[in-house]
């Protein structure tokens, strides 16, 4: 049987630890940590999980449970919210005034008796600045604001929470305008721990159908106390900055401008303001249309008026020209008629003179003609008279016939042939005695 070793009981140990701790940490002290988890239970006590993460890797270095008793919770939470503009929530870095406690049954715990809102605010601001610096370093800072905004922003993807008052305000304000918007809600958690990832998921869903929308509105109602952290978070802001459509924000705060607001194409304070902005843009476009219609009307009226003037001028010009042309033609016609009369009378005169000339010459011509005929007849008569046989025979010529035919050659007769010789005053008969050729 071995000798029993010296020992103390668990409770004795616990008591010793507790006494040591209480002695060592008698007074409250300020501790910086991050809220990893937070629950307010039915009894009104607030239980937290505090953590300290590595600066670079985010790996927890230390962790501890903490509690704010119901008796302090109301005051501490209200002061924190008022001072930081934030509801106490996981993800926040806090500076807490704590009492170190140790309980035999529940172990190590920190009892928070106060919070320094300024520290949280400073941390948020630091993170905000980091996000800004990172986005600028990425070269995406101006990207969304440089996107061209359609003249008419009509098809709007809305990233919001279906039941949020802000979303209803937004819809009502648009409806009031009477313009035909085409809205599509992409439901997302707009606050709480899941907000950032939820909003990013909604934005990604919109981006997949970017062609179907003119812009995306990220809206969230609520007071200034709601937490803005996710809208300063790098990942969400990087999504907004690089979003393929112009982003309109109406995140519902008026204290601070979030980084998301800074990178968004159009940043407005509330959902109602976003709706108002859309309505104004529509109204401006409508006014431009109205103005264009007026100008068109004026221009057309002027054109018509000018054309009518031109037409009138042209028609009076036409009348004038026509009258002038008519006068010209008439005077030309008159001239031609006069010329014609003159020409006609001249021709008539010429013809008359010629006729008179002919008339004068006619007797002489006729006489000459008759005289010529008479002369020719006389000449012919003379020739005929010269040929008359009676006259020729009286000159001593006679016609010798043989066998009833007049002889023209000695070859027509033979010696001894009977001959009949005709003279002017009678006939002689004889015979051929001899032929002598000449």
């Amino acid at each position: 049987m071995s000798e029993q070793k010296r020992h103390i009981t668990l409770s004795e140990l616990q008591r010793a630890v507790k006494e040591t701790l209480t002695g060592r940490f008698a007074l409250p002290l300020w501790v910086a940590a991050e809220v990893a988890d937070l629950k307010v239970n039915y009894s009104g006590h607030c239980y937290l999980e505090l953590v300290e993460k590595g600066e670079r890797d985010g790996v927890p270095r230390a962790q501890a449970r903490a509690v704010i008793w119901r008796s302090a919770y109301g005051r501490v939470a209200a002061q924190f919210e008022a001072g930081s503009g934030q509801r106490l929530a996981p993800g926040l870095k806090i500076l807490a005034r704590v009492l170190v406690t140790y309980h035999e049954l529940y172990g190590f715990s920190l009892q928070i008796v106060d919070l320094d809102a300024a520290y949280t605010l400073g941390d948020m601001e630091r993170r905000r600045q980091q996000t800004i610096a990172q986005l600028q370093a990425d070269g995406v800072w101006d990207m969304n604001r440089e996107l061209p905004l359609p003249t008419v922003v009509q098809r709007v993807a809305v990233v919001s929470s279906r039941n949020a008052a802000g979303y209803q305000d937004f819809c009502n304000e648009l409806k009031k305008s009477g313009y035909a918007y085409r809205l599509e809600l992409f439901d997302a958690f707009m606050q709480g721990e899941q907000a950032e990832e939820s909003i990013i998921a909604a934005l990604e869903a919109v981006a997949e159908r970017a062609d179907g929308f003119d812009a995306v509105a990220v809206i969230r109602g609520g007071g200034s106390t709601t937490d803005l952290n996710c809208f300063n978070a790098y990942r969400l802001c990087a999504h907004v900055a690089q979003f393929p459509l112009p982003v309109l924000t109406g995140i519902g705060h008026d204290k601070d401008t979030s980084v998301a607001d800074m990178v968004a194409a159009v940043a407005l304070k509330t959902p109602t303001a976003v709706a108002g902005w859309l309505n104004e843009r529509m109204a401006a476009f409508e006014a431009r249309l109205d103005n264009a219609a007026l100008q068109l009307h004026a221009a057309v009226t002027e054109l018509i008026h000018n054309d009518m003037l031109r037409l009138e001028r042209a028609s009076s010009e036409l009348r004038r020209t026509a009258a002038l042309a008519l006068v010209n033609r008439r005077s030309r016609l008159d001239r031609v008629a006069a010329d014609l009369r003159m020409y006609a009378s001249r021709v008539t005169l010429q013809r008359r003179e010629r006729l008179e000339q002919i008339e004068r010459q006619l007797p002489e011509r006729v006489a000459e003609f008759l005289r010529r005929r008479s002369d020719r007849l006389a000449a012919a008569e003379e020739v005929v008279f010269a040929h008359a046989p009676e006259r020729v025979m009286r000159l001593g010529f006679s016609v010798v016939r043989a066998g009833g035919r007049a002889l023209c050659s000695i070859d027509a007769v033979q010696a001894g042939d009977a001959l009949e010789i005709e003279l002017a005053d009678g006939r002689v008969r004889g015979r051929v005695e001899e032929k002598t050729k000449k």
Partner: protein, 52 residues
């Protein structure tokens, strides 16, 4: 007149024998007489027409 001229042409060409000659001369003489008569009438007509 054309006939007279053709008879005269035949006289000039001497292609006429004595027997036909007498007949041609007679024909020509008749024609000449007829022409003279017509000429005389024409002269008288002309005188009447122009004299009016």
């Amino acid at each position: 007149m054309a006939e007279i001229e053709s008879i005269l042409a035949r006289f000039r060409s001497e292609e006429m024998n004595v027997d036909t000659l007498a007949a041609e001369v007679r024909r020509a003489t008749e024609l000449i007489a007829s022409c003279k008569e017509r000429l005389k009438r024409a002269e008288a007509d002309v005188k009447t027409v122009l004299g009016e």
